[in-house]
Each structure stands twice: as C-alpha cells, then as structure tokens.
C-alpha cells in the first residue's frame, strides 16, 4: 500500500579556491559554480546556474516554483502542494540526482525527492547539470542533476548579516524566513529558519463535473532550521558542519475526478547532517565528508490507511586533487554509501545495502584552448559490480567569445528498495538502469554597444537501457522489470541579453527553449508493442521560458512567461487524452530602500498566473488561477 502513497507523492562542496588556470576555460559561460567537482570536471556538460540574486529575491519560494519560473526544464507536479519532481531531457522522475553539498538526497525507497518541500532560502547556489552525470556523482544522475549548496564561508571579521523576509498572499499563503550570519576572523555561523503555511483553497473549473469547485484539503505547513558552522584551522584548511531539520505536513487533496472528499495527510521529517573537511595545499587538495540523511514519512488517509516509512543514508567520501602542472589536474576519490529502509511495504524485511565507488577524473588544458576531462567510476554494490562508467568531455574555445563543447558519458541508476523489496511484487533480481548520454553544444557572446548577448545551443541524445517499469504479471501481481529502452533526443537553446539603457537602468532578458523527443524504442512486454516509437507520457515536445527584468536605480519590474506544450498521458499517444498546452505569465514589481548602506528594505508584489489560466501539470490535478503576493525583505549588513 505504501507504494501507492509514495507514488502519490511520491517525490562537494567545494572550495572556491579553484585553480585560476583552468577557470579561464570557463570564462565564457561565467558559471560561478561552487561545487568543485562540478566546476572543474564537468567539462562539456550543459550547466545552468540560477542567478544568486534571483535565489535571494525568491527566498520565499519552493524549488518547484523557482525552477518553473526561471528555467524551461520539465517540472512534474501533482497539484500545487503535491509531489513535484524534475525530468531532465525526457527522463523519469527518479532519474535526477539532487545533491546538497554533493550529498544525494534522492530517497533510497523511491528514488525521488519532492521539490515542493525544498525551501529556496536554505541554499545560496543552484546549478542544473543536464545529461548523465554518474561518473562524477554516482547512481541516479541519468537525466541530470540539481546541485544545491550554501555559500562558502567568507570569514569576514566581526561581520553580522541579518535577513528577514515575509510573504503574504492569496489562498492563505504565508512565509516567514530569517537568515542570520555572524563571522569572525576564523569562524562563521549561519542560521536559517523558515516557516510556511498555505491553505491552497483556490477555486477551479472541474472538467468532470463542469462546475466551479473549491480545492479542499490541500493545506501545507512547513518549518525548518539549518545551522552551518565553519571553522578555519589555517589558510585553505577548513572544517564545516551543517545540520538541516525540516518538518512538513501536507494535506492531500482529492483528484478532480474523485467523488469522495479526502482527509489524507502526509508528514515528512528530514534530518540532514554533514561534516566537511577541506585542505588545499596548492598542488594537492584534500576533501573529506560524512553525511547522514534521514527521512521519515507518515501517510494517513484518516480512514483505513496509516503507514510509515523511514529511510537512512550515511555517505562518506574522500577525494584528492593533484595538480601536475599548470595544465593537468587529477581527482581521485572513494565514496561509501550505506542505505536502509523500513516500510510497511517491505513486510518484516528491513533492506539495507553498502555501496562503494571509486572514481577518478583527469583534466587537461591543451594549447590553452581545448579543455579535456576523462572521468571513470566503478561501484561495488551488494555482491555485484555496477556498470563501469566512463565519460569524456571536451571544450574547445578558440576565442574568448566563442566555444564548442561536447560530452559522451555513461550513467546508471540502481533499483530502489521499492523496486526490489515491495511486498508483493518487488523484484530482487532487477538490474541497474544504464544510459549513454551524448551532447554537443556551442556558446557565444556578442557585445554590441550597450547590449551583451550570450547564447548557448545544445543538441543531445540520451539512450537508456533496462528502464524499469512495473508491469502486470499473469496472475494479476504487478512487478518491476527491466523492460524498456528509451531514447531521448532534442535541442536546448538559451539566450541571455543584458541591455544597459543608461547609467541608471538595465534590462535583462532571458529566454530558453527545449525540444524533447523521447520515445520507447524497445519493450519486452507484448502489450507495449503498440507504444514503440511513441513519445513518453508527460514529456512535452516543446517548452519555453522568457523573462524580462527592468531595473532602474532601486526599482525593479519584471515578467516571467512559461510555455509548456501539450503532453501525452497515455503510452499510445491518444490525442484526446493529451494535456492541453499552457502559457503562464507572472509579473512582479519591487522597490528597495536603503539606509546608510547598512539597512535595506525591499517591498515587492507579484501576480502569478496573470491570465488566470486553468491548467493541469499532471492530469486530474488542477492548478490555481491568478494569485497575489506581497513580499517584504529586510537586510542588515
């Protein structure tokens, strides 16, 4: 039964002291990625970094909101407070690693993490890595990865920073967040606290009853605290500890077609702790970390189902970077992850597993123009070796304003505990899913007077073997099997323009578009034969995003437009059952007030879904119409 629930809701740090020499290769994209491994060894990967200013200004948002509004990646949401996951390049909901300080937060039970439960105010850096990333980051990064992290400690002597933010809005939306930072010469303490509440009692047109109805039992309550402590032992020798506690209670509304009211709730408790030690001695840099992630989930439908699950993961990793010369650099490391899961769905079994991986990456800069990274990873998991994972990335930059890059990589994902041990149906002999990702991209910068334009164009192909699908057995028992081969290919384009209108005002334009064609190429089931060559469900062919931000002195106004094309909801691509395309427009305005450079106050307002569009991101889960929000943010420096 838990499977049901989970499906319903489903679900490296780095050091900044990176090598100047190699940084020049990344000059063009100006990606100030914090994660050292990502920054240094993800040569050839398409990366999108969310502007830290955007993160700060949308600190009251969830990740679902942040990514939907600022990128064109496909976010799948079961309604406004329901499970939200990311699908990179047509991959599945559990095909993306979500890495906090390099630690994978994907659930060992179901392979996903609910982005709605991730508060933006708890991170300072967000980078999306497109394409397979398993050679660097292990199992799970089949389609891509989201890297999230706090900012590096600054060790400013006796500096205090306070940030208070408050949002109030439609449908009972309330957010309060406090971020405090105090740093001394050799230490820094950061405390982040938030609490959020939303009733989500919006009205919608129910296409089943043809009546206007009010969404019920969709409330959300969240609160969390994060403490980050950093201590500098010597120059370039630090130790950090982080602890993240979060409590979430979500009421699960009924689907639009359901007759009976829902009283169901889901509580999620997260404990995440991390100790990180870093030492950089010039030619050699060492990094060790140990992280513990605990997730307890309690589902209660208040009628006849009350179920619990508890997963624990303990990750230990050590890596060593060696700089051979100005041009060659090598990272070698070992990762050990222990996971266990308890669930009513596993009966008396409490599955656990030890996974150990060795990884290495060699990066070279040839002729100051060609960056090359060869990375390898091999993992040993409960008695069997995982697929050997190589990747090769190239980035050729003949000119500071123009570069091309490419990557070929293998990636994989091990089966989840649910896939392996669910009673009944779990299949203990499942194989890992394997992918081969190839991408080719180009980047350009144009400067025409007061206009600065950056374009990136990427074509990709991602072929996934052994894709796990739950299929019915002969006597009606469903069981997961490695039945599918899926091929995803497409084009991604992003464009950014900065236009200095005059010395006081600036116009910032961001556009992105992606075309994704993801088809089932092979299947071992008889019934699935008519789905061959068809687009996978919930993968829109077209998605685009456009944002426009105009700054004048301390005032800002902006709009964000998100377009999502029609999506099939059946494997045979029945157009009658396709989800309609939608365009959602948000607008915002804010005004800053500054007092003696110490105090700053920002007052902003935003209107979401300006056009009051009725839409569904997931069929049968209506989304809210127009809503209004007011934000106040106070900062003391």
């Amino acid at each position: 039964m838990k499977r049901l629930l989970i499906i319903l809701f489903v679900f490296t740090t780095g050091v900044v002291n990176a090598q100047q020499e190699t940084d020049s290769v990344r000059l063009l994209s100006e990606v100030k990625v914090q994660d050292k491994r990502l920054k240094t060894y993800a040569t050839g990967n398409k990366l999108i970094q969310i502007n830290p200013e955007v993160i700060k200004n949308q600190s009251y948002s969830s990740f679902t909101d942040l990514l939907t509004r600022n990128t064109s990646v496909n976010i799948r949401s079961y309604g406004v407070s329901g499970l939200s996951t990311i699908s990179f390049r047509g991959s599945g909901s559990n095909h993306s690693a979500i890495l906090w300080e390099g630690i994978n937060l994907q659930s060992p039970s179901n392979g996903s993490l609910d982005l709605t439960l991730l508060p933006v105010s708890f991170v300072d850096n967000v980078t999306l890595q497109f394409g397979g990333g398993s050679t660097l980051f292990g199992s799970g990064a089949l389609g891509g990865a989201i890297h999230i992290a706090g900012s590096q400690p600054e060790f400013d002597n006796r500096s205090t920073k306070i940030s208070l933010s408050q949002q109030l809005g439609s449908f009972g939306n309330q957010y309060t967040g406090v971020n405090l930072k105090y740093s001394g010469k050799d230490y820094e303490v950061k405390l982040r606290v938030f609490t959020k509440k939303a009733d989500n009692d919006f009205s919608f047109d129910n296409r089943f009853t043809l009546q206007r109805e009010k969404q019920e039992n969709a409330d959300l309550k969240q609160s969390g605290v994060m403490l980050e402590v950093a201590y500098r032992l010597k120059d370039n020798h630090t130790v950090q500890a982080k602890y993240w506690l979060q409590d979430n209670l979500i009421n699960i509304s009924k689907v639009a077609s359901a007759g009976a009211p829902s009283f169901a709730t889901q509580a999620d408790y997260f404990h995440r702790g991390l100790i990180l030690w870093e030492m950089d001695k010039g030619k050699d840099a060492f990094n060790m970390k140990s992280a513990f992630v605990l997730h307890e989930l309690i589902y209660d439908n208040k009628v006849n189902i009350l179920s619990n699950s508890l997963t624990k993961a303990w990750t230990n990793e050590a890596s060593w970077d060696h700089q051979f010369s100005k041009y060659w650099q090598l990272q070698t490391g070992v990762n050990h992850t222990y996971e266990s899961g308890e669930s009513d769905g596993y009966g008396t079994l409490i599955p656990d597993r030890h996974r150990t991986a060795l990884f290495t990456a060699l990066k070279g800069l040839i002729n100051n123009k060609l960056e090359t990274t060869l990375a390898l990873r091999e993992a040993y998991n409960v008695g069997q070796w995982s697929p050997f994972l190589p990747s090769l990335g190239l980035h050729y930059q003949p000119d500071p304003k123009y570069g091309i890059k490419g990557k070929i990589a293998r990636s994989y994902r091990i089966p989840t505990f649910n896939d392996l041990y669910w009673a009944t149906g779990g299949n203990p002999i499942l194989l890992p899913e394997k992918g081969v990702n190839i991408e080719l991209g180009s980047e350009q910068i144009y400067e025409l007077g007061k206009v600065e334009l950056q374009n990136e164009l990427t074509i990709f192909s991602n072929y996934i073997h052994n894709w796990i699908q739950w299929i019915p057995g002969s006597v009606g028992i469903w069981s997961p099997n490695n039945v599918q081969e899926v091929w995803s290919r497409g084009v991604e384009a992003t464009s950014q323009a900065l236009i200095s209108l005059n010395s006081e005002s600036l116009l910032r334009l961001n556009g992105s578009y992606q075309h994704t064609n993801t088809t089932k190429e092979k299947t071992k089931t008889q019934a699935g034969q008519n789905e061959l060559g068809k687009q996978l469900i919930y993968v829109p062919y077209h998605q685009g995003n456009l944002s426009l931000l105009w700054n004048k002195k301390l005032s800002t106004i902006g709009t964000k437009i998100n377009y999502t094309g029609s999506q099939f909801t059946t494997g045979d691509n029945d157009s009658k059952r396709a989800l309609d395309q939608y365009t959602i427009i948000d607008i915002s305005a804010s005004q800053n007030f500054s007092i003696r450079n110490e105090h700053s106050l920002m007052i902003g307002m935003e209107i979401k879904n300006l056009g009051n569009k009725s839409y569904e991101v997931r069929a049968n889960y209506p989304m809210p119409g127009r809503s209004f929000n007011v934000n106040i943010n106070y900062q003391f420096n």
Partner: protein, 365 residues
C-alpha cells in the same frame, strides 16, 4: 496479507499514478452511433486517480467500435474508475466507483439523464429490480462497510441502505430474491452470499461459501453458481504461503443451499469473472492465467470437477454476449494505453478484436 481485488486496486493506482489520463480537447472522430442499433457498451475503467474512464459502443451489425461515446455525448469525461454498466429499461446505469457516482444515460442516444451522487461512496454494480427500484452494491468509504443501496428510479435517490458483509459486489436477481456476493473488505475476508428479499429490501438468509466470493451467475432453473478467489497469503520471498492461504472455489447453490463447493488445485490464484451461457450448459471463468470452461451437466455433490482450458489467455474483464453466446475478453495490456476487446465463439476460437479505451473491464449488455 493482501486480497486479490485490493492488490489490483493498489496496482492500478500505482500504474495509474505513473501514467495516463483524459483531457477534453474534443476533436473530430466520432459521429454518434445510430440510436437503438443492435450492439452493446464497453466499460473502460481507466487508471485509478487518472480520471480517464470512458465508454465505448460496439455496433454488432456494422462491427464498428466507437470509443468515448460518453465524452462525445456529454462533453465531460466519465470519471474515475468506471466499474460496471447495466442496461435497464432503456437506461444505461454506469457505476463510476472512485467518482462515487452513477451516470445514467439514455441507452439509445447516449444522452445524459442524470448523475446520482447522493448516498453513494464506493459503488460497484447496479441491478434493476422494477421500474421504480434498483439495487447498487457499495464497498463503503472505508472499503469495509459493504451495503446494498436501494435506489428509487423515479427520483434517482437512495432510499435505504442494507448492511451486507464486507465488499458487496456482484448481484443476481432470481424470483423475488437478490443474491449478493461479499468479496471481502480492506484487509479482511468475507465468505458469504447475502440473500435479500426484494419485497422487504431486507436480508433473509446468509449462505456461507468459500473465501472472497466475487462473481455470481444463475440459470433459468434458478441454480446459482458462485466463483470465489480464495485468499492468497505470501511468504516474505513472495512465494505462496500454502498453510495460510485458502484455495479459490466454484460453488453450486440450489434452493438457497450449497450443494457442492469445488476447491481449485492451485492457491496462487482463484477463479474470477464467472459467466454462464444462455443454455446454461457451460460456465466460463478466468483462472491461473487462462480462461477455463466447466460443463454444468453432472456437476454435483460427490462428482469430481473437470475444468477445461478454453482460451489460452487471461483477461482483465470477461463477459458473455447472450445474443450469440460469444465470449468477450477485455485485455488491459500494460494498463498504459488503449485496451482491446476480443470476441470468441463457443469453441474458444477468436472471431475478432477491437481497440477500446483504457483498462476495459466489461460490457454493458
């Protein structure tokens, strides 16, 4: 421990949630079938929580299957988990379980007559009793409190609720009595047939059979046949726990007494979707991945049961077209795409197949 129907429910949720659904982008396709032509409806259950249940109509003379006839006639999707459809006095009663409703349509032009929601929780089947009365079996909101709802067909309101055992399911009407299978509730078993007097709308007798009686048929002489799936309990390695499982069964009931109960040889699955032909010579049912037939002649106390493989395939739903005695097999495939309806003649030979909607489970005849 898991009951068969529950696991089916759970897995349809599971698949459902990962798949499928409807949108009313009503385009081209279907001209409505002609009113009153000789044909029958196909109920497409749809994925649980996906709201993509639909209704198809099969015209037997032109051999044309028209899908989405409810959507086309009403401009709204049918709902969530359409369980069954019964034609009674020119009305079609489509029981939509997760939507907690019965859609009543005109069986000739498919137009909507009314939607009954009041008093229904988790309805399964409709049975017409008289021109003013119908019965609806209902699992209850907790899937434990099984009832028969008495429906006033004039006002289309529920006038009485008769408590049965758990999981009130299929019903048959013989003389002035209705026989209800109680197929077990959420996490618990039931093993009774409840007999209700249609004069008093009250239970007058309880007949104990085997575990989880699900389907029930009768012949003209009033002999009643019941198929039950038994109860399957699994070991931690998913093998069948033989000691704690009970076998599925077929029971013969004469004069409200069990004449004989045959247990199936394997406990891994039990017989379901029991059908009887119009001459009452043969029973048909789904068992262990095949459709089997049982000749009724000579079946009785002391005799051994002799089931024969009839179709080398299992179906999600099974029905029998009484005008031809064709067996109708409904295949849901991987539950992610349109299913098919196949017709078989009395020798078990495939006649033809048609694409229908998502997760077809039976016919409205």
């Amino acid at each position: 421990m898991k009951m068969n129907y529950l696991s089916r429910l759970v897995w349809s949720v599971l698949v459902g949630a990962t798949v499928i659904m409807t949108s009313c982008s009503g385009d081209d396709e279907s001209a409505l079938p002609e009113a009153g032509t000789d044909g029958f409806f196909v109920v497409n259950e749809g994925g649980f929580l996906n709201g993509n249940a639909s209704l198809s109509y099969f015209n037997k003379s032109t051999k044309i299957m028209t899908n989405d006839v409810f959507l086309d006639a009403t401009s709204r999707p049918l709902g969530d988990q359409a369980q069954s459809m019964t034609i009674f006095e020119d009305k079609g009663y489509i029981v939509v379980q997760s939507s907690s409703k019965i859609e009543v349509i005109d069986s000739k032009d498919f137009s909507s007559t009314t939607t009954i929601t009041e008093g229904l929780s988790s309805p399964r089947y409709f049975l017409g009793i008289s021109s003013t009365k119908g019965y609806v079996s209902d699992w209850g909101s907790d899937s434990k409190t099984g009832t028969i709802k008495v429906l006033d067909l004039m006002s289309n309101t529920v006038t009485k609720s008769i408590a049965t055992g758990q999981g009130a399911n299929k019903m048959i009407f013989v003389g002035n009595k209705v026989y209800v299978t109680t197929t077990g509730g959420f996490g618990s078993l039931d093993n009774n047939i409840q007999v209700i007097s249609t004069d008093t709308d009250a239970i007058i007798k309880t007949i104990q059979v085997g575990d989880n009686p699900k389907s029930i048929v009768s012949d003209e002489a009033g002999t009643i046949w019941v198929a039950g799936t038994g109860s399957v309990v699994y070991n931690p390695d998913f093998s069948v726990d033989e000691a704690n499982s009970t076998a599925g069964f077929i029971a013969k009931i004469v004069n409200d007494e069990v004449e004989v109960i045959f247990s199936m040889p394997s406990k891994a699955s039990g017989p379901s979707n029991l059908e009887i032909n119009t001459t009452a010579s043969n029973l048909y049912f789904d068992y262990a991945g095949n459709i089997y037939t049982l000749e009724t002649a000579g079946v009785g106390a002391g005799a051994s049961i002799d089931i024969k493989q009839f179709i080398n395939k299992s179906f999600y739903g099974l029905d029998l077209d009484p005008s031809t005695n064709n067996i109708l097999g409904f295949d849901a495939g991987d539950f992610t795409s349109a299913g098919t309806m196949s017709r078989y003649d009395e020798s078990g030979t495939l006649i033809d197949s048609y694409e229908v909607g998502i997760i077809p489970n039976g016919a409205g005849l």
